[in-house]
Structures are given as C-alpha cells and as structure tokens.
Symmetry: C2
Subunit: 360 residues, 2 copies
C-alpha cells in the first residue's frame, strides 16, 4: 500500500512530484538530543541497534521532529558480518572491530550467508515495528553495506586508513576475495529481501569504500557484485515497485556505470555537480544528493543558500520533452554529530518551499 506521502517513491521512480523530497543519511543520530537520551537508556550502540523497540524509537525521532519524506531503518552496516560470526564489538574512540577478521583461505571457506530471519531477526523485527509506528505516513528505507564495503571491514577487522589488508588480498589473491564477495552477494541479497518482505519500501546499498579502488578494481570487485545483488532483489512487493538506490562515495567518475547496475537511483556525494550528473544519467536513473554535510555546521543562512544551489544545479525536474527526471534531496554523506538541529529545520523547509517555486 502506498504511503500517504509518496513523494520520495515517486521521485525515485521518476514520476512527477509537487516538490523535491528530502531525507538525510544518518538522520537518526547523535546530533539529536533525543537520540542521545535513548542511546544512554540502551547502554551501548549495539544494544540500541539490536533492540527492535529502541531501533523503532530512534528511527521515528527525526520524522517526528522534521517533515521528512522518508524514514530510514536505524541499524549498522556491520550487522551482516556480525551475523556471520565475526564477533563485532566497539572499542571506545576506535570504532567497530571484529574479533575474527577474514584473512585467509580457511576463514573464507568457513563463511556462510546468514539466514536473515534467524540471526538478523532483530532487524526484520525492527522493520515490522517501524512500519507499524510510521502508520504509512511516509515510506521506510531499508539498507545494507555493499559486498565490497562489508569485505573491507571483514578483512581489515575494523576501519582503515589505507585498506592495505583487503587490497593485499585483492592484488595477490583476487580469486579468494571473489569467493568472499560471493558470500557477501548472497548475504546482502537475502538481507535486503528480508527487509523488503518485512516492510522496507525502498532499499539502499551503501558502497562507502568503492571510491578507494582503482577504476579496474572498482568494476571487478564492487560494481559487479552490486549488480549481482540488484539482479536478485525483489523489485515488487505488496503490489508496489521497491526502488533501489546505489551510493558509491567518491564514485563521481562511475555514474554511468552505476546507472547500469539495474538500480532506480544513484546517490552522489557533494563533489559532483548535480546538473552535470543529471546530464550524464538523468534520463536513466533518479539522483539522490548532494549537499556538503559541512555546510550545516556553517549555520542556517549558509545551509539555505547551498541547498538552493543544489536545487538550482539539478533544475526543474520536467524535461523539455515533457518527461520527468527524479531528484531526492540528501546530503553527500552522513550528517555530522555536531550539527545544530535547528539548521536541519531550515534545510528541510528550504528544500520543500524552494523546490515548489522551481516547479512553478
């Protein structure tokens, strides 16, 4: 069933909308005092992410505060490797770590795609619970890390500055990395489909680390595996098309290639000019982006100006031939924890009002 406000879905499917819909990557997060309060009650980030009740609460927080056009499941991209048994934990000040990183033949051979309705049940339960709480006002976006991005964490055992362990595997044992990625393709596909069955109305693949690869390696190890995921996705559920968004951070050179993965929309970071991105792929895919998240820390006035610049760069969605190109407003990366919540008010208001004017 369509949500009451289906502007986001329409823009993703390149149908006419009355204004440009907006949601923000990491919109449920540490810049919101109510999020921090819930997190304190939960005790830890993972306790928060693994409780459908808490996850529902924080997913709804930005939606209650701002007239956003989409909600996004509160979760972490590392739930999948955690469900594979790698032992996810968080080290204060160092971010996520895996106890058992995947670095050799035996570790890859031992990997299996988890059954999401078993070991990731807390995620699908959260999706069901959030759908109930949203009461069909706006669509819910589910998500996963890309096979390559998950592999980065699985091999490095955590974050990395230069990804030299996973890149060493890539350069010396490409076939071993491909075996690992094949497990991830299966896992991500099953995970996203489970989210769709549970009620996610849009899915997004976060290819956070695709942009650290050479052109050749990006094609072989990230782009191809995302295409495989998309070809296995449920694209229709509950009588509706389920749009899929692909976001490779730092992927501005590859927009045409991403547009050919079978996705409905391409996320772009703030480096790319949105008008140029539209000229390149607007006839094939909707675009999502692309305000520099740093501008929000410069205050409301600067944020309003830059938001208008982004909307102007895309231009009115109506094409001269009468068709419509799709634009979903977002940041080019997750919102900073140091953002003033009042600036987000100004941003959402500007995107809605200014985009209505652009259509007039």
């Amino acid at each position: 069933m369509k949500p009451t406000n289906d502007t986001l879905l329409r823009a993703l499917l390149r149908q006419p909308t009355q204004y440009t819909p907006i949601w923000l990557m990491r919109q449920a997060g540490r810049y919101l005092p109510e999020y921090n309060a819930t997190r304190r009650r939960a005790g830890s980030f993972m306790a928060l992410a693994k409780s459908p009740q808490f996850a529902t609460e924080v997913t709804l927080q930005p939606v209650e505060r701002y007239p956003l056009d989409g909600a996004i499941l509160f979760s972490d991209i590392l739930t999948v490797p955690d469900a594979m048994g790698l032992g996810l934990h968080f080290v204060e000040g160092e971010g996520p770590k895996f106890e058992r990183p995947v670095r050799d033949e035996a570790a890859v051979a031992a990997l299996a795609a988890p059954d999401p309705e078993q070991s990731l049940r807390y995620v699908t339960d959260a999706v069901r619970s959030i759908r109930t709480a949203l009461a069909n006002r706006i669509p819910l976006i589910g998500f996963s890390g890309s096979p390559w991005t998950l592999a980065c964490y699985m091999v490095e055992g955590g974050g990395s500055e230069d990804f030299h362990l996973v890149k060493s595997m890539l350069y010396t044992r490409p076939e071993l990395l491909q075996r690992l990625l094949a497990v991830n393709v299966r896992a991500v596909t099953d995970y996203l489909n489970a989210q769709i069955r549970a009620g996610a109305q849009v899915v997004m693949i976060f290819d956070t680390w695709g942009g650290v690869l050479t052109d050749a390696a990006y094609r072989s190890f990230s782009l191809t595996t995302m295409r495989q995921v998309i070809s296995g996705l449920l694209r229709q559920w509950d009588g509706e098309r389920v749009p899929c968004i692909v976001f490779t951070k730092g992927g501005g050179l590859w927009l045409e290639d991403i547009a050919e993965t079978g996705c409905d929309a391409v996320g772009v970071d703030w480096v790319v000019d949105l008008g140029q991105a539209r000229a390149r792929i607007g006839a094939r895919c909707a675009l999502q982006g692309n305000l520099d998240p740093a501008v929000l820390r410069a205050g409301s006035h600067a944020t309003v100006q830059e938001a208008r610049r982004v909307l102007d760069a895309f231009g009115p969605p109506r094409r001269p031939d009468g068709g419509v190109d799709g634009h979903v407003f977002n940041l080019g990366h997750g919102i900073s924890q140091y953002t003033d919540p009042a600036v987000v008010d100004a941003l959402v208001d500007t995107v809605h009002s200014y985009s209505r004017k652009l259509r007039a």
Copy 2:
C-alpha cells in the same frame, strides 16, 4: 643546462623518450632505513627539513638506491605558513599543528607573503645544495602546497577529517577566504620562483585537499588560485623550460579544467583509469601517475603486475598522428612508510624495462 638524464623533463614536455620516467611522491621518506637514521641524527622532522645539509642528504638517498629519473626536494608543504609566523609544530601522533590559526578578519589582515630568500632561505639553500650534490645527473623537482591546501591547514590549525572550520569560512565568509587565498597565491608564486631561481628544474603544486570541495567551490577557491600561481611562474630559467605539474588528489572529475590552468602536466590519483585520462587531456598535457600505493604493500609480484597495467592503460606514447603524449610514472599518492624497499627496486625496474618494450 639539461641534466644528463633528461627523460623526466622530456616526458613532461611531451617529447619522445626511450622509456617512461619514474619518480615517487615521498620517495625520500620513512620506508628507507637510511632516512630514519638521518632523521634520528637530526632529532626531529622540522630540524631535518630546516637543515640544507640534512635535506640534501635525504633527498639524495632514494636516488642513490634506485635508478629514479627525478629527485624531489625534501621539505614540507607547511614551510610557507610557518614562514608567515603561524607557529608550526608537530604533536606526536597528531601531526602538524599551528599555534596561531587564521580564523578571523584580524588574522587574515595580519597575513603577508614571506620573502622566500629571507624566511625560507633554508629551502632555497637546500635546493642549491641538492643541485650541487646531484651533479646534473637527473632533474630536481621543487614543490609547494596549493593556495587552498595551505589555507586548510592555516584555518583548521592542523589536519582535519571534515575541514569544517575552513569550509565554514568558505560558506559564510567567502570574501574573507579569498583574501587569505590571495596572500597564499602571492606566497606560493614567490616560493616556487625562488626554488626555480635556486635551481629547481620542475615545480609541482600539491592540491592535496582540492578533492574535498564541491565542484563550484573547487573552481572558485582552488582551481582559480592555482591558475593565478601558474600565470606568475618563471617558465624559462637557465635557458630551459621549467615544467609545472598540478596534482589535485581526488580531482578525477576536473582533469580538463586542471589541464587549462597553464600547467604542463596533470598528476592523477589511482582511482582514474590512465587511458581514459589520456583520452580526455593527453593532447594538451602530460600525465603523472597513477599506481595505487597500497599495491606496494602487497609485494613485488603484485606491484609488477599493476605497474604493467598502468603502463598498458596509458599505452605507447606515440600517437597515430606521429605526435607524442607524455607519461611520468608515479604513485597516485605518497609512498607508505610500511613499504618494503625491495619492492621499489622491482617497481622501478619494471617501469623502465616494460615501457621500453611497449615502445618497440
């Protein structure tokens, strides 16, 4: 006077060469045991950089060890803001810091471009000393940070993850940032010209942080100011053309624009396919790059394979019309301190021998 081995100069000027010349960003550095020994004797990084004698010693080390086609002045991009009186110091484990960052009207008004033959005399003395030590075997490359990249450090007061202070100035006080950049343009131009007068035979502008900007901001704040620097450079010295290289890390989308700054060569990071880069700008500028520095940590075999892939991607320099395109082999970023020096042997040897074969 031309150096005995002028292959690097010829490639930068798109003249025929017998093989592809190679040098490595940060080739005088911590991966070399002899560098670490000198650094211990100097006591600190800045003591090393500020002593013409030590700077000469470490500049020559990689050149004595490997048959490289160019030497690069050992120095730091922060010497210029240090000479402006901002108080550069290094905090263990945190990198460079400025005691007096430039964050307001008064601080910008107080800035002045230093006279390089006064406060940066240790750099020009090092250039003269290195030229003597090189005895004209290979050319010496001088360098500076770009006006924008220097501004990042000057405003942030050190390194940054999100550059929110300098971006706040950019978004809220663009005219103030432009005033700061105007000082940097003067300072960088004078600094590079002083290096040329002292004997630098090539100059390179490191725009390390241009790639964190939006397309519009890159054009206004980085590209324009680099063009201004280049228009003020001595292009002819001691009877020879002094080639200029511009390297914007993460600048793959802007290669055409960089090629129009007036530079002779464009540095490219490892994300860009070199064949595509050549197709885009090879008729106007030489290219420098672009091996992923991470591959060196994967060992000699992988490094040799990838180096060949880079050379194949560029292809033979001779064009079908009989003209020649220029390629200088390099990494897409500085060499890691964890690189095994033996791998660099294999790399230099492969670039020289395989590129000769490609020309045959």
